[in-house]
Symmetry: C2
Subunit: 507 residues, 2 copies
């Protein structure tokens, strides 16, 4: 646990207004001119390159704990940067990340103020989640031929990049060192070594504040949903909110396990929390970091609303399916980091290594854990041992991180190639969801309902597989095309777009 230590210095800030940092937060307080000492942070003690993260962590914790009350003004970026002896850019980035998380908000020319905590304010985020929309542009291009197959189905990672050499090296190390106990009937929660490595990985990459004991190793998000559905069903729940549009596979999975999916609309800010509350469902499955399939990042004000809803006795299941693939800046921390007892966080290596790896994790609130472990045990006794140890080795040696970086770079190039091709061949198209993930969404605001299904069908005839947005909708809505780009070369993407463009623009 890397939780920031808050000392008594916090209540003796320069402003002398101790009540701000006391256990009874005061709404609307201001810390004009306050410097860095409230952070109790010696920058020289923080490793190079970790200062941004450390600052974010300390501020986040203070907001989450209510010690930084809603409405409190933070020091200006100039003051805090000078006080800490860091560049102003670092503090700007810190505040931006906190804004992405919905914890603070800034207006131009005004102080950055705390939004989260016990007394949420009316949110006006100054830093909008990046890359949610690409401006529409004009033009059009001719039709292509040939039967070549281009698979732009979303959710497919670039499996050709699977780190075979690193995996084999890790396997050799594991086989050399594995004990008899390692190969026996194991802990149904997963091997302790992997759980410890995953806790660290989730802390570093997703901001979770967890230890090995909080992590259950599963075979993937599908199994997490199965286990959660069984446990919730056992507690009398019969319904679960799902994003609409959202993952059709997840809906089917939940329905199989007896939880009726209740569609909750998604708009440009993510899931509509008002509609969720109105649905009466006590649990919701969400993809906050990069909504599937729209690519929307949950907006800060929605994030706050959602956390309030969750804290009122509800549960968010956070499907963090592709958060490692964030291209333009560090990812928004997982929701779990803000409300660990109200969020069940799950993810897997399906998008970073390969879907066939079938290794994932589930970090659930304490009240669900014993039942989840019993369900995991009853399902399969636990994950296979060797792949668990290999993954632990890949994390411990830094190979997984290097691999994710390599893949991310490659995928950014592919995304850019797809964007350029869309710009060129479909300049009238509106594109969203480009900041992260393995796919983006082309919306067709002027097309009639169902046009996307027709286009996808004709695209398939032209050798290009794409998903119509309608496939992932429960209730009717504007059409669109979901384009996965991770598993195709830039040339392939260009050719694919060249082929589908005329279908989109055809009357």
């Amino acid at each position: 646990m890397l939780a920031a230590r808050w000392t008594s210095r916090q209540v003796r800030s320069r402003s002398g207004r101790v009540d701000r940092w006391s256990s009874r937060p005061v709404s609307g307080a201001v810390v004009d001119g306050a410097g860095s000492d409230f952070l109790s942070l010696d920058v020289r003690a923080v490793p190079r390159g970790r200062i941004t993260e450390e600052l974010v962590r300390r501020l986040r914790e203070a907001v989450a704990d209510g010690r930084l009350a809603a409405g409190t003004a933070l020091p200006s970026t100039r003051v805090l940067a000078a006080d800490l002896g860091v560049s102003r850019g670092v503090v700007v980035e810190v505040y931006r990340r906190l804004a992405d998380e919905g914890l603070v908000a800034a207006r131009t020319g005004s102080a950055t103020r705390v939004l989260g905590g016990a007394v949420p304010q009316n949110p006006v985020p100054a830093v909008p989640p990046a890359g949610r929309e690409l401006p529409a542009q004009p033009a059009r291009l001719p039709l292509a031929g040939s039967g070549t197959e281009f698979n732009l189905a979303p959710g497919l990672p670039d499996v050709s990049a699977f780190p075979r050499a690193a995996w084999l090296r890790a396997e050799r190390a594991v086989l050399r060192g594995a004990t008899t106990a390692d190969l026996g009937y194991g802990d149904p929660r997963g091997h302790p070594r992997l759980r410890a490595e995953l806790a660290g990985w989730l802390a570093r990459t997703r901001g979770l504040r967890v230890g090995a004991e909080d992590v259950v190793v599963v075979t993937g998000v599908a199994q997490s949903l199965a286990l959660l559905a069984q446990v919730l069903r056992g507690r009398g729940q019969t319904r679960i909110g799902v994003e609409d549009p959202g993952s059709r596979g997840a809906r089917d999975q939940l329905a199989h396990w007896g939880l009726q999916p209740e569609p909750v609309p998604v708009d440009a800010d993510g899931v509509r929390v008002d509609a969720l509350a109105a649905s009466g469902a006590g649990t919701v499955l969400l993809t906050p970091a990069h909504q599937f399939p729209t690519g929307v990042v949950l907006a800060p004000h929605r994030r706050r609303e959602l956390l309030r809803w969750a804290r009122a006795g509800n549960l968010v299941v956070e499907d963090d399916y592709d958060a490692e693939h964030r291209y333009d800046h560090a990812p928004v921390p997982a929701l779990h980091a803000s409300a660990p007892e109200h969020v069940a966080h799950t993810g897997s290596t399906s998008k970073t290594l390969a879907p066939g790896a079938r290794i994932g994790w589930l970090v659930a609130p304490h009240r669900l854990r014993a039942d989840l472990v019993a369900a995991k045990h009853a399902a399969d006794l636990g994950n296979p041992a060797l792949p668990q140890l290999v993954l632990a080795e890949l994390i411990a040696t830094g190979e997984l991180e290097r691999h994710v970086r390599r893949v991310r770079t490659r995928q950014r190039l592919r995304r850019d190639a797809l964007l350029a091709a869309l710009h060129r061949h479909l300049p009238g198209a509106r594109v969203q969801g480009i900041a992260a993930g393995l796919h983006l969404l082309v919306t067709l605001p002027h097309a009639e309902p169902g046009a996307d299904v027709r286009i996808a069908s004709r695209a398939a005839e032209a050798g290009v597989l794409v998903h119509p947005l309608s496939w992932h909708r429960v209730r009717p809505g504007p059409p669109g095309l979901v384009l996965g780009y991770a598993a195709s070369t830039p040339d392939g993407l260009r050719e694919a777009v060249r082929r589908i463009a005329p279908l989109v623009t055809a009357p």
Copy 2:
């Protein structure tokens, strides 16, 4: 499929009595003096070392199909051996195996006659299933001390023998050759390559007549039971027969999934089919090859009764958990071989490779398959890809077979060491279940009920972990000690017995 081809020659046997081989079996027919031509078998075309198996297969199929009617006398071993040009020992072994399967019976000085098929006879098997009982012997030995731990819990294989080098070689080959599709989201039934290899493995080692399309790869028997329970529950079943004594873990597993276990008594011939029928359960979970924990091999007459019960619209779940570990002669073929549409056969590599491998198989009747595959998909989408491909490679290269042979030899030595130690230190003990598996049972016919729990508790204090038979009983019954020997050295076994002997013989 290696099914024997029966040609028109079959109906022109030397005896001239064609009706025996016709589609309408005649009970009580005799083939005095009939030679080998009814087998339509050219011995020269059969690979060296396969002749026994081939003969067994052809005869089994003819009995199963009803073409060899119940009561039919087979040629004498002398006649058939001479006719085929094989040693008489081969034919003796073939008939013995068929007797073990409950398909034929011989009385000394009389012909071997067909028992199976449509008109079962009153069985008097001349060849009793080997090794079900070891004669009791007299003596007694002094107590041992020290806190050293000896783990004689049943079900633990010798994981220290895990073939690390072979596994790594296979993994290297797999990683070199794996395609993008191999690493993607796979077939929930398992990788086609492994399913094909498993079909061959099950045919060779367990007599199953299956193809790749019949096999579903699972994470182990526990998952097979989970999937079967879900499917049967979905079809309205609420109860399942289980052996008593029997696996406590399996009972708990089934109960978790909503099937109430109904205990069915096991005696020296295996499960009591009359009691099973009286229970009204439509499904039963059995360990016919080496009953857990008694070690009894299902007797031929029980096997026939059971198959009749199954064919009347019921289902046998055959847990083939340790059949590869058979020491004194070739294992009894799986029940599935006799009634594939009435038996769901399941096994795993937990006892041959390591429990941590979490790879197993399920071969179920056609009527259950679609639902089972849907349940497997909903559970975890399918097994991890790489371990599946590695196991396929280990089978294809013969490494698995070599490994099983090595381990079997080692385990036989351990079993013999345990038997010798029991003989020496507990000569009054009755021992059963020594022909196969990883454990044996010491019965305590003269001890009071519950004595085994007391002994096991005192054994644990003396540093020796054993299971009291009572732990595995539902209803009260004679006490006993279940001793696993696969994971301990001969010296360890000797010391363990030396320590527990005085506890057993104490008043």
